[in-house]
Symmetry: C2
Subunit: 460 residues, 2 copies
């Protein structure tokens, strides 16, 4: 917001190539706002600005850009600026950048790092993608249980500068194993001669380097933490993860779920307007073709009822109405269950309770829609003389079919996520479009079977 | 997880009514885990445990329960325990509880509070629902620019105990106006005689009490903060908001979006299995009936083509296939745009760029599906002799209709969120089911018009 306000001032400084002035203007801006402003400038100007900013600030601003922007900037900025920024970046943000790049680019960039930073970067990249190891930063303050508050504060003053956060300190034993985490407030509120051991409670929550990222999101949510320690398999403290990275992951997960629910392969990892249109078409096309092949079964199914249709064309008038009602109730049910599973409210063992609830709900909703459908047909028949002499039977057919289709749709929609999860797939794959396709085929079979029963001897 | 492991031990302590033992076992558990364990116990036991826990710990645990559970516990626990817990709770969590209760209950509970806490609670409840004021807590540490580091640390030691967090301290002027925020690390890393003024940068980010909650989520995401100061309209510091409350709101927002996308009224605020089934049915029924009424237009539209249908029953075989393809491409497009709008990647002004992209994508996807459809009809016709002598023309009709329907579906799906936002509605309302219904009606009109053109003189 600050960025937008000062834009004209920035523009005139850029136009005048007054980079000293820019450096001064930016000196008290938050890095996120500087990054916002840079986004609106051409890349030559961005590079010129990165060159004049103090190293540490340049790295802070750089961390707020998307990996794509970071990559293209690194390619065009001079070796010196790139080296400075890469060495100053937080190890966790640097990992996020490096893992987006092709292996040769990573090799080249890692060579720009100082021996210490190179060591850190390579260690982090060795953890599997999507693991907590890739999110963490090894900059934390570890203290010993034998110290007192004054010694701790003195140690922090001397060694805390590089630490990602000083909000929580970690107590480790002689072998570097994590034995406690203590919030900085505990030290600030106590007399300086208090021994650390006196207020340790051995009660801490930690993540393991090999845990999946989703685990981190879950633990942060559950324990309301802003930073969590990470240990290796043997319990040695190796790093910390901060909540800002976790917010980003939670957002990316929600986007993935939402896109899957909308019938998209969950791999659209760029903003919509920036994704190349060919890629967009390919990703959407795959799903559409799969759905289309599934939906072809409706043509096959309807083939079996061709005779009924030609005898009672009136039946086809209500076909879209009936199958779409099944699809809609199915997508409601699957959305509810998928989200409840994602939030941990519903687990595999609940399938039977869910099935009973959905059959109950589905039947009630079916009766409701069936009544509305029958009414609609009745009104048109009596008012406009539509649907012929057997309109009441047609209405009954539509009403009964709706009860069956809506109940069946709800049950299918609710059970599909359980089946997918049971076989190890992501429940979110059973999105509205997939459920609708499945229910379309079965729905029209239900409809024509109901029709064949009710209308036998009259229309059929 | 701890809770599940120790469950038998807890159970035997509860069974033996050994509450002193329970108190001891729980003494070094994180409150979130105690809350988890309580959830599995009958409410008499929960109440007994709350009575024996130390006041502060009882309040911490209580804060991790859902407002529903909190409400039912408060009703059944004694006046004394309730008073202790309510007075010890964080003001922000207490507001979240009180705003769920009916006004009479709130009045009764507020009377249990000490005069100081009552004052705080009433002030917070005076802010409008959904505003930052309702999220904040007034417990923070404010310091003066004239102090030095040593004075600040001494002040924190004496006055910081009740503060929600000591990770950030706030500098206010003589009138209580916020002039800076400084992370605790800045004090910890500097010699104690350093004047605060020396490292103030007047560069801070704050929220206003009247800002909507969504604004808080946005600012926390953008600036990667864990805590933010809140000011009144005149810039006076009045409280702080922490990131844990914001994570909860972000999660609730995602759930709301996802449920809307699945065609549910976004008001299912309880976990699926805990929602009363009547409520579930009512909420789903409303949307289903609205969709059903919209979908009835398909019956009307098909009525106009009854003559064509009776002449060429073969056309109806592909009807579900064609309208569902339109619905699927439409729901893909609307999902992409709704999510991009929620993330701020697409704004109202982008509608023309989006429209062009979607027409392009839609036509390409339509050609793809059209080709597959024509092929399917060709294979069946040549292989099984289906679809009569004019199968090639039928195939052509289906193919051309698919191009039109898919392109139209994509365009509609993408534009609907823009239209809704333009008229001030939530774009997420244009969910897959709504888009599908809209596209069903228009899709079948396109199909029959194409058929009338291509098949005139042969089948029609």
């Amino acid at each position: 917001m600050l960025g937008k306000l000062l834009q004209p001032e920035i523009e005139s400084l850029v136009a005048a190539r007054d980079f000293a002035g820019l450096r001064k203007t930016f000196s008290d801006w938050p890095p996120a706002d500087i990054a916002d402003t840079l986004n609106d400038l051409p890349s030559e100007d961005q590079i010129a600005i990165f060159r004049v900013l103090p190293k540490a600030q340049a790295a802070d601003v750089f961390e707020y850009l998307s990996p794509d922007e970071q990559e293209s900037l690194l390619r065009s900025m001079g070796r010196e600026t790139a080296t400075a920024i890469l060495n100053e970046m937080s190890p966790d943000d640097r990992t996020a950048l490096l893992e987006e790049l092709p292996p040769e680019a990573v090799k080249k960039l890692v060579l720009l790092l100082s021996p210490d930073e190179r060591n850190v970067a390579q260690k982090l990249l060795n953890y599997p993608e999507g693991s907590v190891g890739r999110l963490m930063t090894p900059d934390y303050v570890a203290i010993k249980p034998g110290w007192n508050v004054g010694e701790v504060l003195e140690y922090v003053r001397r060694h805390g500068r590089d630490s990602e956060s000083l909000n929580v300190l970690y107590v480790t034993d002689a072998h570097g194993k994590l034995i406690d985490d203590i919030r900085i407030r505990e030290f600030l509120l106590r007399p300086i001669e208090t021994p650390v051991q006196e207020f340790m409670d051995q009660n801490y929550t930690s993540l393991c380097v090999s845990d999946p990222e989703e685990k981190a999101v879950e633990v942060f949510r559950k324990y309301d933490r802003t930073i969590l320690p990470v240990t290796d398999a043997d319990g040695h403290l190796v790093g910390v993860v901060t909540v800002d990275d976790v917010l980003d992951i939670a957002e990316a997960e929600a986007t993935e779920d939402i896109q899957k629910l909308g019938g998209l392969e969950a791999a659209l990892d760029m903003p919509y307007l920036e994704s190349p249109i060919q890629q967009l078409i390919r990703k959407r096309g795959t799903v559409l073709v799969v759905l289309f092949l599934g939906e072809m079964l409706t043509a096959t199914a309807m083939g079996f009822f061709e005779e009924e249709i030609s005898k009672a064309v009136v039946l086809t008038l209500f076909l879209p109405l009936i199958i779409s009602s099944g699809g809609n109730s199915g997508s409601q049910a699957s959305t509810l269950i998928i989200r409840a599973m994602a939030l941990g409210e519903v687990t595999l063992g609940d399938w039977w309770r869910v099935a009973r609830r959905e059959v109950m709900s589905g039947l009630s909703l079916g009766v409701l829609l069936g009544a509305v459908g029958f009414l609609r047909i009745g009104v048109w028949a009596l008012g406009f003389g539509s649907y012929g002499p057997h309109w009441a039977l047609v209405g009954l057919t539509v009403g009964v079919a709706l009860i069956g289709v809506v109940a069946w749709g709800s049950l299918m929609g609710a059970m599909l996520p359980f089946i997918l999860r049971r076989v190890g797939m992501d429940p979110a794959t059973s999105s509205a479009p997939f459920v609708a396709t499945l229910v379309d085929v079965t729905g029209l079979i239900i409809y024509f079977l109901v029709a064949a029963t009710i209308l036998r001897g009259t229309l059929l």
